[in-house]
Amino acid sequence: MRRLMGLLVALTVLVAGVGPGAAQQKSTLDKIGETGTLTIGTRTGSPPFAYVNAKNEWVGFSIDLVDELIKPAIEKKLGKTIKIEKKESTPPTRIPLLSSGAVDLIAETMTDTRTRRESVDFSLTFFVTGAQFLVKKGSPIKGIKSIDGKRIAAQQGSTNARILRERAPKAVLREFPDQPAAFQALVQGQVDAYTNDGIQLAGLKSKAQNPAQWEIVGDFYSYEPYGMAMRKGDADFRNVVNAGLMEGIESGKFFEIYDKWFGPKGELPYPMSPQVRSFMLLQVVPK
């Protein structure tokens, strides 16, 4: 039902957005100060960034970054404690959710792109990945060069589908609104491969019933830097969000949270490469 909810939300936004003066005017920090609540848009099925775990808790790396780095920064700025409210966002709904003021921050697995920057603002990059393919072990698909004529599932609204359409026009794309449906289609053979950001495929594989049955293949055919999205033109709020992330990177807290999820004992072992580590550190500007 969440899929339908997404559509409903988008339609509501459509109606609200067209009405005069419905768009957000107040600064985000004022809004958070008044309501005492930071509302974030996040995912329910994108482990380990944002998902509902076996204990029915809504958790993940992106959510922890908000909880442990950004929330304290906002509290410091406002001088009062705030709470976090989570709402489901999906690729088609996340920008309208922000624009309408329904959420203040998108914290999930959103790739920062130049097109999107025309509609929203992004925080620092907090994760770096690229698109690959998930296939059944032994599949003839080895990467983007071997998918001609194959049925490839992708997540609708993702950057991957767009790149595939341009770079592999002979592949037959099947786009699903969410990850579980796309994966189910792969399990049953409706499609030959599922493409998404490598880290998400790894998350999916680790949560599958029989992880050994699946294989992640191909070099990254895209560059996907994840950022947190905010309403465009609210520099004060963006500075606070970025300050929270920078302080976390500087103090090492960011890397602790990374290890909690991606370290050797984490949900999904995915050690940070030295290049990515230095990229993270270089994003931090002096106090």
Partner: protein, 253 residues
């Protein structure tokens, strides 16, 4: 003179920035057109299936022979009381594994998602059409059926030549209603990767990050489609009105 002080401008850019040109630049037009065609194909195929199922089961629900009546009732209550989204997943994910592997492979390579959506939408809407037709049949005095049987027609012939032609005319207004619902419900097929109209509006959003513009385009297309169908059906209703029974809401000149 405006000084060096920090200017606090109420940020107008925080409002949503409309850019309607995304609808006619790039491939948007082609996508909307192909989505519209898919929506029409899907709706037309599902409508045919729904009409056949609806007429047959609706008629069977009014016959004397109990087993047929029960079968039709079971069909109606089972299919109309489960959400359409569930039926989409059912036909797409649950039905293929029941088929032989060769058939599965063939289906997967030949647009299974489209036909799964046709089945889901057709069977679901058929159950709803069925109730509409039943109410149409029950609006006709029972004596008409009895008179036609008395005049030597079999039950089948009575339905075929007497009851159904009248009932079908009676149910044009609620039938139009259900048909428009079917057309709009076809958007649920995007959950199983059918690239229909709503899917294509999302596609535009992916490429341009302009969701409100894309949704508005989709909304207008659905609106125009539905109003056109409603207008045509209103004309059909007037043309086929039976004097004395229904008058299309107005007296005939």
């Amino acid at each position: 003179m405006r000084g060096f002080g920090v200017e606090r401008v109420a940020a107008p850019s925080m409002r949503y920035q409309f850019n309607w040109s995304v609808l006619w630049t790039g491939e948007s037009g082609a996508w909307l057109l192909s989505g519209l065609i898919t929506t029409l194909e899907l709706s037309a195929a599902a409508w045919l299936l729904a009409a056949v199922l609806g007429v047959v089961s609706g008629a069977l629900r009014t016959v004397r022979f109990a087993p047929l009546r029960v079968a039709a009732t079971v069909y109606v209550e089972f299919f109309r009381n489960v959400p359409l989204l569930v039926w989409m997943f059912f036909w797409y994910f649950a039905v293929p594994p029941l088929l032989p592997v060769e058939v599965q492979g063939w289906l997967f390579a030949h647009g299974l998602e489209f036909w799964a959506a046709v089945c889901a939408l057709g069977v679901y809407s058929g159950a709803r059409f069925s109730e509409v037709l039943r109410s149409g049949i029950q609006a006709i005095p029972r004596t008409q059926l009895e008179a036609s049987v008395a005049s030597g027609l079999t039950t089948f012939q009575s339905y075929r030549y007497v009851v159904l032609p009248v009932a079908l005319r009676l149910i044009i207004p609620p039938g139009t209603n259900e048909s428009l619902n079917l057309l709009k419900n076809s958007s649920v097929a995007l959950t199983i990767s059918v690239a229909e109209l709503t899917f294509q509006t999302r596609q535009i959003e992916t490429y341009t990050a302009k969701a409100i513009e894309a949704l508005t385009a989709g909304t207008l297309i659905y609106l125009v489609l539905c109003i056109s169908i409603a207008t045509i059906m209103a004309w059909v209703e007037r043309r086929t009105a039976i004097p004395g029974l229904i008058t299309g809401g107005r007296r005939r000149r």
